[in-house]
């Protein structure tokens, strides 16, 4: 049975992608894990790796073709396997709901029986092949092994692959952020800048997420705003640094914040969940530099947290076990597709990353409790502050916002869960922008 190559969903809000270029010609041999083709979405360009080794056949999407997420764009046959035309494969798939579908437009669901026959071969059960030296180098450089292309035998990642990747990262432009738009800044944590006008908006993501998770909101905010994104330690592209307490984490964040914002007199800070707690801490410590604050479901306003979901996300080693917990993040579980879970799992493939985040959870949320309290900080704030909370947030209860005194606005969003910036980015963007206007005029 050939392994199908699908157009992956790499952003939460992505529905289509354009095939930019194929790196392998039809009929040629491909090696699992090597670049197969590039896709362009509204926001980014990204390399898609071959899901299996074999020969490439039945390529249905040509460069420039815009295709729906989940579409089968080619098949990879094992060496020696009889090559069948794609149409035949689809006809043979018993679950195909509509036989009139053209091959190039078949949604993945139509190929479900075929699809689920293969996942074990696609990710080696979520394990990465890397040498000890490569792993040590990645730890040191704060590089996620899952991002690195291995050039060794069987795609093994070697020390030089990590070094090459780190070199590319330290260059001003990198994938998948559009190179013309985002530039990286060296420092204690990974910081990326987007040029634009006005007071910069600093984005602090939540626990187990990374800067890429802001993509839907960035789109909703418009392309002319100056943005600064900071990856938490051990998240995204930031190095793993030992933490003993929330105060430790806050100190690191303030250090990175100072470095990232030194060119500006004042900034607006937007934080989500743990990033919200950090935004509060930054605003508390650097009150003079923070003109306004937007907090989406901030942590630190009460002891309760859904530790089960948190642990589930951290522990998951495969898309199948990650998906149910990701679905706890949203108000409507169907918002999280299997492809999204697979893309999310790919970013979490490195066991060292999972271990680090588990240790971090143990420090920040011992016994499933938020062990740090930012209610005093929130009460003290002088700057314009807006809280945004989904009414269906299963992770942090919105009622915690009612337990704090302080002059902040609270927006409760119907039909939103713990990640409203992904579930309803346009609404969140409007609230954030209003807050920024209020901060500048107030």
């Amino acid at each position: 049975m050939p392994v199908e190559v699908i157009l992956p969903k790499v952003d939460m809000d992505m529905t289509h992608g354009t095939v930019a270029v194929w790196h392998v010609a039809p009929g040629d041999a491909v090696t699992k894990g090597t670049p197969l083709f590039d896709i362009e979405t509204d926001k980014a360009a990204m390399e898609v790796e071959a899901p299996a080794s074999g020969r490439l056949h039945a390529v249905t999407a040509r460069p420039g073709d815009k295709v729906a997420v989940g579409t089968v764009v080619a098949l990879i046959y094992a060496e020696g396997e009889v090559v069948v035309e794609l149409a035949t494969v689809i006809a043979a798939a018993p679950a195909s709901p509509d036989p009139r579908d053209k091959p190039a437009a078949v949604p993945l669901a139509a190929l479900a029986p075929v699809q689920f026959a293969a996942p074990a071969t696609q990710e080696t059960n979520g394990l990465l092949r890397a040498t000890p030296a490569a792993r040590a180098a990645a730890r040191q450089a704060g590089v996620m092994l899952a991002d690195v292309d291995g050039t060794g035998p069987q795609g093994r990642i070697q020390r030089e692959d990590v070094a090459a990747y780190a070199d590319r990262q330290s260059a001003p432009a990198h994938m998948p952020d559009s190179p013309a738009v985002w530039s990286a800044q060296p420092g204690p944590l990974h910081v990326s800048h987007r040029k634009g006008s006005g007071v910069p908006l600093v984005l602090l993501h939540g626990f187990t997420a990374d800067s890429q998770s802001w993509a839907p909101l960035e789109k909703a905010l418009g392309s002319d705003r100056r943005l600064i994104r900071i990856d938490l330690p051990g998240h995204g592209r930031s190095p793993r640094r030992k933490l003993r307490s929330f105060a430790d984490l806050a100190r690191m964040m303030v250090e990175a914040f100072d470095e990232a914002t030194k060119a500006y007199d004042e900034v607006h800070v937007l934080g989500h969940s743990l990033g919200g707690a950090l935004a509060l801490a930054v605003a508390d410590i650097r009150a003079r530099n923070v003109a306004g604050l937007s907090l989406i479901a901030p942590a630190g306003l009460g002891p309760e947290i859904d530790a089960t979901a948190l642990t589930g996300i951290i522990r998951a080693t495969r898309a199948e076990s990650l998906a149910p917990w990701l679905r706890c993040l949203t108000a409507r579980p169907e918002g999280i597709s299997d492809e999204y879970s697979r893309a999310a799992m790919k970013l979490r493939r490195d066991p060292a990353l999972r271990t680090f985040q588990a240790e971090m959870a143990e420090v920040l949320f011992p016994d499933g409790v938020q062990a740090f309290d930012l209610r005093p900080a929130l009460s003290r704030l002088q700057c314009q502050t807006t809280l945004i909370w989904g009414r269906s947030d299963h992770i942090l209860p919105w009622r915690q916002a009612l337990n704090v005194s302080g002059d902040f606005a609270l927006h409760l969003l119907r039909d939103a869960g713990h990640v409203p910036q992904i579930e309803c980015p346009d609404r969140v963007a409007r609230i954030v922008l209003r807050g920024m206007v209020a901060a500048s005029t107030g």
């Binding site: 040498t131 000890p132 030296a133 490569a134 792993r135 040590a136 050039t151 060794g152 035998p153 070697q158 020390r159 030089e160």
Partner: protein, 344 residues
Amino acid sequence: MSTRKSEMNAMIQDQGLRTLSYAEAIREAMAMAMEADPTVILMGEDIGVYGGAFQVTLDLVDRFGTDRVMDTPISELGGAGVAVGAALTGLKPIFEFQFSDFAMLAMEQIVNQAAKLRYMLGGEASVPVVFRMPSGSGTGAAAQHSQSIEAWFGHVPGLKVLQPSTPEDAKGMLLAALADPDPVMIFEHKLLYKMKGHVPEGSYLTPIGKALVRRTGTDITIVAGSIMLHRALEAAEKLTADGISAEVIDLRSIRPIDHETIRASVRKTGRLMVVYEGVKAFGVGAEISAMVAESDAFDFLDAPILRLGAADAPVPYNPDLERASVPQVDTILTAARRLARREV
């Protein structure tokens, strides 16, 4: 070996240094020790008038007499037993096995007595015996006379196991073994007996348990001992044509083993290959690779560890098969290239 050996000899002659063969160096060490210390005696089969199976003792019986150069009957167990007993009661015997393979007959004395008595007597006594073990293949002597069984003894606490690769070390190790209060086994390679090299005059001790970097390099680490060192050095020389810089470590001591020299090299190169003449499985290479994998050097490994050892078969009599059954320069070269080029 030829290129490197001739270069080495040319260098030695240039500097007017004295050269001896490996066998001569061992003989010189024995004679020096016997002159300096009346308790040093030689024992073994045919070591007297005949001069030893490989002519290592040669004329020592003429110089020291049959009281101190004793031919023993064809009973390794009996001979080794007398040597161990003599050592226990104040002498320093050097016992030569004609072939190290014959030590099988004396295992009781070596493993159960010599190695253990110091411990079982609460440190009240020790067994300062030296066993000389002519070993290795390449002489057409077939399965029972060509083995490399040094790793067997590496498994026995209480023994020290050495493998000199040069005439200089052959002398220095024998003197160090005699200076050691406990049983020491020296595995001498039969093919090295005629090898010539610089040997310092006078008395000196080669430190037991200390490996030596014979060639520095940056891309891969090759650990080898005895004759394999010379094959590894020759391969390393050829690797320079491929732009590969190999570091070659002379293991010298199997027990105790020098962990730090090997780890330091692995930290530098990230690639380790162990070459030894014993059967590959459960051998010296297994110990070294496990030791590296268990250490902090693990984080520096950038490729799987390679072991090159003898085939999983008794050493064949047929010369072509015999040659093919143990690592040669070509096999080391091929494996080292693959390791350095990231093909393994």
